[in-house]
Symmetry: C2
Subunit: 692 residues, 2 copies
């Protein structure tokens, strides 16, 4: 056995070197045919890549040839985000989060898991079955960062990791550091597929490989992924008489389809379709197929349930499948699930997953605040899914969910200093429970590198192109340097203090005067907005829609978007029992919260109520505090509390109906994403309300 | 192996027969010394029982000699409960619940688990590790029923089961149907002790054996329990150099102490103390010792946490330990835990255990309604613990918790027809989630026989004696026929329509005119109460206390208790986020709820609010419906709802502050215990409130 592994390693060193030789070739459309020794020792042909546009010009997704995509991604490098809200987050991400996570992955055995298999480490296997994916997600984060510009040190670290990964690949393409040695016999058994995360790991490997390829043109990891898929997976697994696949943790579906968008190999798309089809392959109890959000036909799903990350990742894959095939049954299911989520199961922060038990969606309207799970990964998956729905339609309602999740339930997942992470993102917190909400490391460390890859990829979410122009999704100081789908060069510069301020100045500069449309997103939360082009006001501005500005654009044309950025008070549907008698405060895309540390001495969050008059929201005072929490705009408002804290009262006193909140207290709100960055203190998004 | 087991079975047939011969001897103080062959074939001496009073006169607990008990139990048979609230429940319990549960236990392999070990069944082992306890709890239920009077068919069934159980006992006293065959080597390993429930099973066996012994004088099962404790446990387990014990699921502690109260064998009390002491014996992660509520010193506990049933059972054992030893550190801890529970962690129904995840206590004030766990067993454990605290002190605050749990969170656990059971007892329910709340059988069937033993033992909870008189805890049509501690005969008859009506007529008849005190419980929920003796009003009536009536009592003295039985509206401490803006309705000891099926057509519970005026509670209309739900008193009140149901609204609409509940709707409340006895329909205990 050892001898065989040693031999296969040598074979791969050879072929990896051969691949590396062509990988540095920065051709726009890399098509390479090289010889390598395969599993059985036979010479195989390296897969030719037929991807267009070439690697440098592909976005977060490459929808260039997707027949049912309305919008197409722009490459990450086409947008430069300058200093501002997201610029600061991205600086921290590159300079603190990603490098420290690299060291933590190494310190926690994530690389010795690989090295030990080629005799370079004596360490025992460490971490859960999905530990390989930690490395791949980190690699993907680096890939996205490198798409925005070279970072030699990060690139060297990633290169080293990639070399250590591919060295472990077996001759038949299999690659996994957990199902080895004594566990080798469990590989891809039906039971292992439901819990073992082998294909989940490979899905993340493919995503990491693709991001790294799109940054560098380096195919090393990508080819390893292709070898797994084409050499191991497709020949052996799929519709009978091949062996069955059950997606224990959906992820491979979207990865296979993105791979297909590079290779053009329809078998990869078909395999994704086979997995999503989910007809009965192995016997699974119903609670298992609910939990996995797989193992039954995707198109028979009627609601979001089970493990939240699994569910939204499955929806990502299904949307990708729809964009390639146009299968209406997928589209109908996706819309049904989206409505189910956004009308009954999504937090106001864009987070999803109400239950810690099973990290799962709850019943409709089951949205507890203290016990909210709202895993960072699930909010990210929600954004990824909506990004795909948006690409399929151009419908701004999907962009609204992206913005809500991104600014709140995702952004909260990483501390302001970039080195602590939330797994859970609750909407209320009581430190007396002893829960430590931010931690530098989790043994299941799915969320931290997921946040890192998301912030790394962010420029790719600012714009899309359509066959008649360009869509503007997000607002921040930035420059686009790209082209229309007809090839006409296009630059767009944004100057803004968004989200603190509602004014966005844009300069649109096509390489030559051209007729096309700029689709300007008017966020759904907007009450009133004005848009001018070169000073002339436009009509037809509608919240929750893209404003199409169709005209002949010339260099330096100025677009000004002005949205009213005032605090808004939201309540919840009365079916959300957890929010009865409570309101949430939002300003622009930011959901706000109360942290007890910001309130007057002795004020207890559970005692206070927001005192609202006839025009709720109009009485907030704003205060920009550049020295607090990395610079935040505070909201102040009058509240009411008890003369003496009621928290020492008996548990079930008699109700008198008398207003006992006779003491006025000032309340100070901070943006939700910035919570839990100081001492442990109580927090709540939903605050009790009384009428003033 | 088989031969050895066969031989040991024969030995026990012999000795069991010898025990049976003396068991039918109805001596008040059975002291028996018989010869039997022990584990190693040596002749051992049967344990002499030194219990006083004799088996017929022992109550739920035998506190006759407990130095730190203020109150002493009366035997179950001393109280006859007539037709009325509890009489009806107890009829159903005996005629429907217990017989059908017997058949279900047999149908689900609970007895073939025993029979197969002596070659009388070919069936495989069935059920979880704690399946033996199902049989023992059922035996305990029968034991209590038989204490109230013979039921030959039930007695025969129990006798048969007992014979089948004891036939399996091994020569060394060990008895368990799970850790046999391949699993024999796992017996009592530290790891097994934390999850295997071996001692939990034996704890229930002892409780079942004791109840059966107190009904019949039959020692067969009791002697088997003693053989386990004295033959297997005490010689091998305990303080070093013996092998360690960790109580994986507390239960054995209270059982050992009750056994000690029969045998007088101090080693049994000491073993319970050793288990409770819980100093470091085996390495356990902290989350495990929290979950188990054991594995660390009981006296170092500062709050209720972890698995709720484990926690309250541990508290039962610790209170028993205190009553025998007077150890102040236990008393201090018990009171701290009691305050923690009743001021921060107990539902208004007396249920405990907020989290389905781990069936656990939550953080302070974490009391979700829809997702409440409130396991029937935990409410029962809460009652059992408070019964012990009450015995130690005579403090009525403990009786208030007993009444709250009994009438609500326990009574809800069994359907009105007695053949369906709740495992969870949530305080709100939405049938669209698909949860089936009542079921005839659970593979973990802890709750059903636990409910059965509780209702079977109920007469034993009506009165206690003290050295100066008698305490009256519960009110229902009943007759006490017992005696004071000085031996003077005493009969007390209660005539009442409690809990529907607040009038209780009592007749007190000592066997001769005697000076003593009748301590009459004035429930804590009472606003106003009058007590007369032979028509003369007494002063000093105080809610939440026992009214001591000290006088010379003569045959036929009449005591009349009249409590104001009006609907009361409760709110929750503002820290209970789940109850914000909501109220609960209680009348007498009964908590009420809304079921959607009782409301006008089209009324949705999540839409409605209870419209309360200046004197909340005063505007309820009552209606006794003898043909509904076994006879219940309904409460009617005006509510407010939306013109059109708001449940189709968006998830997070803007808050306007306008009162949109402009439609008046009548609301009908039923007692909580009677919920979920008709079709699947929405239910809630906590209802939104608006001022009228």
């Amino acid at each position: 056995m050892n001898q065989k592994r040693e031999m296969s390693r040598r074979q791969f060193v050879t072929s990896a070197a051969a691949v590396a030789a062509i990988s540095s070739f920065p051709a726009r459309d890399a098509i390479a045919v090289i010889a390598r020794e395969g599993a059985a020792g036979a010479t195989q042909t390296e897969v030719a890549l037929t991807d267009k546009p070439g690697w440098r010009d592909q976005g977060v997704e490459n929808l260039a040839k997707s027949p049912h995509a309305k919008l197409r991604n722009i490459p990450v490098r086409a947008v430069t985000i300058d200093s501002g809200f997201w610029g600061a987050r991205r600086e921290i991400n590159v300079n603190a989060s990603i490098p420290t996570m690299h060291d933590l992955l190494e310190a926690n055995g994530r690389m010795t898991n690989f090295l030990r298999l080629v005799g370079k480490s004596d360490a025992a296997q460490r971490g859960p079955v999905y530990s390989d994916s930690d490395v791949y997600k980190w690699t993907e984060a680096v890939g996205f960062v490198l798409q925005s510009g070279d970072r030699p040190k990060l690139r060297a670290s990633a290169e080293k990791m990639i070399n250590e990964v591919v060295a472990v690949q077996e001759p038949n393409g299999y690659l996994n550091t957990y199902y080895v040695d004594d566990r080798k016999s469990q590989r891809m058994l039906p039971q292992t597929q439901t819990t073992g995360h082998e294909l989940y790991n490979i899905g993340h490997m493919l995503q990491g490989a693709i991001a790294y390829y799109r940054a560098t043109g380096d195919r090393k990891l990508l080819d390893a992924g292709i070898r797994f898929v084409d050499g191991f997976l497709i020949p052996n697994y799929g519709p009978a008489p091949k062996k069955p696949i059950v997606s224990g943790h959906p992820e491979i579906e979207m990865a296979l389809i993105e791979l297909y968008r590079i290779t053009g190999d329809k078998r990869q798309l078909e395999l994704a379709g086979y997995i999503l089809r989910g007809d009965k392959r192995i016997d699974l109890p119903e609670r298992r197929t609910i939990y996995m959000f797989s193992g039954t036909p995707f198109t028979e799903r009627t609601k979001l349930e089970g493990h939240a990350v699994r569910a939204v990742y499955a929806c990502c894959g299904a949307t990708d499948y729809y964009m390639e095939t146009g299968d209406d049954s997928y589209w109908a299911t996706l819309n049904k699930l989206w409505t189910d989520m956004t009308t009954t199961k999504m937090y106001v922060t864009g987070g999803v997953g109400s239950r810690a038990d099973g990290e799962a969606f709850g019943d409709a309207y089951e949205l507890p605040n203290f016990r909210a799970y709202g895993e960072s990964c699930a909010a990210i998956g929600n954004m990824m899914w909506n990004w795909r729905m948006l690409a399929a339609t151009g419908d701004a309602k999907f962009a609204d969910v992206i913005e809500r999740a991104l600014y709140n339930g995702i952004n909260s997942g990483m501390s302001l200093d970039g080195v602590m992470y939330c797994y859970r993102n609750p909407l209320a917190f009581d430190p007396s429970g002893g829960d430590k909400i931010r931690n530098p490391w989790y043994d299941t460390t799915c969320c931290p590198p997921n946040l890192e890859r998301t912030f790394g990829s962010l420029p790719g979410y600012f714009y899309s192109t359509s066959d008649d122009g360009i869509y503007v999704h997000l607002y921040d100081n930035s420059e686009l340097d790209w082209h229309l789908e007809n090839g006409t060069g296009l630059k767009v510069a944004q100057k803004t203090n968004y989200p603190w301020d509602g004014s966005v100045e844009m300069t649109v500069t096509p390489s030559q005067p051209t007729d096309f449309a700029v689709y300007l997103r008017i966020p759904g939360w907007v009450d009133s907005a004005q848009v001018t082009v070169n000073g002339t006001a436009l009509s037809g501005v509608k919240p929750g829609a893209y404003l199409p500005i169709r005209r002949r654009w010339s260099a330096g044309d100025r677009v000004h978007l002005q949205v009213e950025m005032v605090p808004q008070v939201l309540e919840a549907n009365p079916r959300v029992a957890d929010d009865t008698g409570r309101v949430a405060v939002q300003r622009g895309p930011l959901v706000y919260c109360l942290e007890e540390v910001d309130q007057s001495n002795g004020v207890t969050l559970s005692d206070v109520a927001l005192e609202l008059g006839k025009r709720p929201g109009s009485e907030f005072q704003t205060e920009m505090k550049s020295d607090l929490l990395g610079g935040v705009l505070l909201l102040h408002h009058t509240g009411a509390s008890y003369e003496r804290s009621a928290s020492a009262n008996v548990l079930y006193p008699r109700y008198t109906g008398a207003n006992e909140r006779t003491k006025r207290v000032p309340l100070t709100f901070i943006p939700y994403y910035a919570w839990a960055n100081r001492q442990a203190t109580a927090m709540q998004v939903w605050t009790q309300v009384v009428k003033s």
